[in-house]
């Protein structure tokens, strides 16, 4: 059943919501952007407007280890064919776990204030830290 135009009088009993319009065959092998998410699925909604700090991705240092993708509790790391592409800011809550687990030096993800311009953030990126002997 399509939930495209579900209004107050079109819902199903039990306040049950469908994640997809129509059946979801082979969903694990279908990329998020190719899935037929319904309007009631939070994939199509922004649920991140309370974020006050955001992770910024700097691809210059990324080694595509996928740690951030594995650890993100909100599936907000966009990765395709094991290549890190960036952060889904409609769903990222700004928890900073991706930054915490990033193993590169300097890190490829760093937290900045929400209103910070991405290019400015990358311009301010820290140098590689020297290991103390």
């Amino acid at each position: 059943m399509s939930m495209e135009n579900t209004g107050w009088d079109g819902f199903e009993i039990g306040a049950m919501l469908r994640s997809f319009d129509g059946p979801a065959k082979d969903i694990a092998l279908t990329k998020q952007e190719d899935r037929n998410y319904s309007k009631n699925n939070s994939f199509t909604a922004s649920v991140a407007d309370w974020r006050i700090i955001k992770p910024v991705f700097n691809k210059d240092y990324c080694i595509d280890c996928q740690f951030c993708w594995v650890y993100c509790p909100d599936i907000s790391i966009i990765s395709r064919d094991k290549k890190m592409l960036g952060v889904d800011y409609d769903h990222c809550k700004g928890c900073g776990i991706c930054v915490e687990v990033c193993p590169t030096n300097p890190k490829s993800l760093l937290m900045f204030p929400e209103q910070k311009d991405t290019e400015e953030a990358i311009a301010e990126w820290p140098e590689k830290e020297k290991k103390e002997k």
């Binding site: 009088d9 819902f11 009993i13 039990g14 306040a15 049950m16 919501l17 994640s19 997809f20 009631n40």
Partner: protein, 408 residues
């Protein structure tokens, strides 16, 4: 996993708990999630023995509280299985929050409540204060007066609750100890007949349908919540009674045993009647018969078989020609008239001619309701009927020591 069928005698000597356990075994429940509490403990104890002995295929989840028990039932029911549990008193009180979740999510769980007083003071015996908690929770509620009813109403509860036009959870209540621990002859159904009456569980929007993923238990704020609640109330008010009637008819055809939404005893020409629930219905019916013979009181008894949805119209038909009605509540209303007084008053308030109605609080904490008590109530009713008005206070306590308590 294979499971064995059990061979039952045509009549088994079962108490209410054993009757519930066998009904739960026979309908082939997928998940029972339970935390035992007196006096309902033997229901899940017997059930787990059936499981250990190979008579049950489903899962039995032992959890850490009644809140978790019903939560487990909700998860399993949303996943798409036939689900049931049992509880009493404090356990039911702890379960309350989740009862509203179950009904709001339209999950057809069956809950056996073995009625017991609510502490404090702590008391394990039967009264109706625990089940009165559930009145507004959106569950269908069947009341059993003896072990046979417990057995039969369990099948009816599953059948009605799981109907796709209904999809609401259902309670089957029985009196703690008086029904739950008093062994009586119970006419049985063989395993296949019992299962076929309820039929195979038909899932609806189940979470284990992986091709059609769904979200259960969503948040709806002011723009949707009211419509969901209104629809749930609408379905309780309009869709449940026809399905109950259908199930009662089908059950009578199968077994010869007739159930009615409102049960009546000696009511054809009755002028006065007692309205009550549970084991008291049978006591009152006996007394009504005796008083008819010995004192010429045209006495009758109205038993509430379905407490929710409240049989407003059905009760109007039954009480409209009565002169006096006594409502017997086995729960302390704690600062108000009793529930049955209020609800029966609501039933008659817009009738052209209405009976005089009074209220009795009785049997708290398992205190016996004797035939002498019931006879006194009928004599009060006779006086009210003759006078055409109340000759007693509106609310009286019966069977309690000390000076007579009466109010309003």
């Amino acid at each position: 996993m294979a499971f064995e069928k059990m061979k039952l005698k045509e009549i088994e000597v079962w108490d209410g708990n054993m009757a519930a356990s066998h009904a739960m075994r026979q309908v082939q429940i997928d998940v029972v999630s339970a935390y035992p509490i007196t006096p309902s403990t033997p229901i899940v104890e017997n059930y787990s023995k059936f499981l250990a002995d190979g008579y049950i295929e489903g899962e039995f989840m032992m959890v850490e509280s009644e809140h978790a028990a019903m939560s487990g039932c909700i998860g399993a029911s949303a996943a798409g299985g036939r689900v049931a549990t049992a509880t009493s008193a404090q356990g039911l009180a702890l379960m309350m929050e989740t009862l509203y979740q179950a009904s709001g999510m339209r999950l057809p769980i069956v809950l056996n409540i073995v009625n017991r007083a609510l502490a404090a003071p702590l008391n394990v015996n039967g009264d109706h204060s625990d089940m009165y908690l559930t009145r507004d929770s959106g569950w269908i509620h069947f009341d059993a007066y003896n072990p046979q009813h417990v057995y039969d109403l369990n099948f009816i509860a599953f059948k009605v609750a799981e109907d796709h036009d209904v999809r609401l959870p259902a309670i089957v209540s029985q009196d703690g100890f008086m029904t739950s621990h008093t062994a009586q002859g119970v006419r049985t159904l063989d395993d296949d007949t019992a299962y076929n009456f309820v039929g195979e569980f038909k899932p609806m929007n189940d979470m284990l349908d992986l091709d059609h993923p769904v979200t259960h238990g969503v948040q709806t704020e002011e723009d949707w919540h009211f419509e969901h609640k209104a629809r749930q109330h609408n379905d309780l008010m309009t869709k449940v009674f026809p399905k109950i009637e259908e199930a009662f008819d089908a059950f009578e055809k199968l077994t010869g045993r007739r159930y009615n939404i409102v049960e009546t005893y000696h009511m054809d020409d009755a002028e006065v009647a007692i309205v009550c629930m549970g084991t008291s219905v049978e006591t009152a019916a006996e007394v009504a018969k005796e008083l008819r013979e010995n004192e010429g009181i045209k006495a009758g008894v109205i038993g509430i078989r379905v407490l929710r949805p409240w049989p407003y119209k059905q009760l109007q038909e039954v009480v409209k020609n009565l002169k006096a009605v006594a409502t017997l509540d086995r729960s302390s209303p704690n600062g108000a008239p009793g529930m049955l007084f209020n609800e029966i008053s609501g039933v008659v308030i817009n009738l052209d001619k209405r009976p005089v109605i009074n209220n009795y609080i009785y049997g708290l904490g398992g205190r016996d309701l004797t035939k002498v008590h019931v006879a006194e109530v009928f004599r009060d009713l006779k006086a009210n009927a003759d006078a055409g008005k109340l000759t007693t206070p509106t609310q009286q306590f019966i069977g309690v020591r000390g000076p007579k308590l009466s109010y309003l």
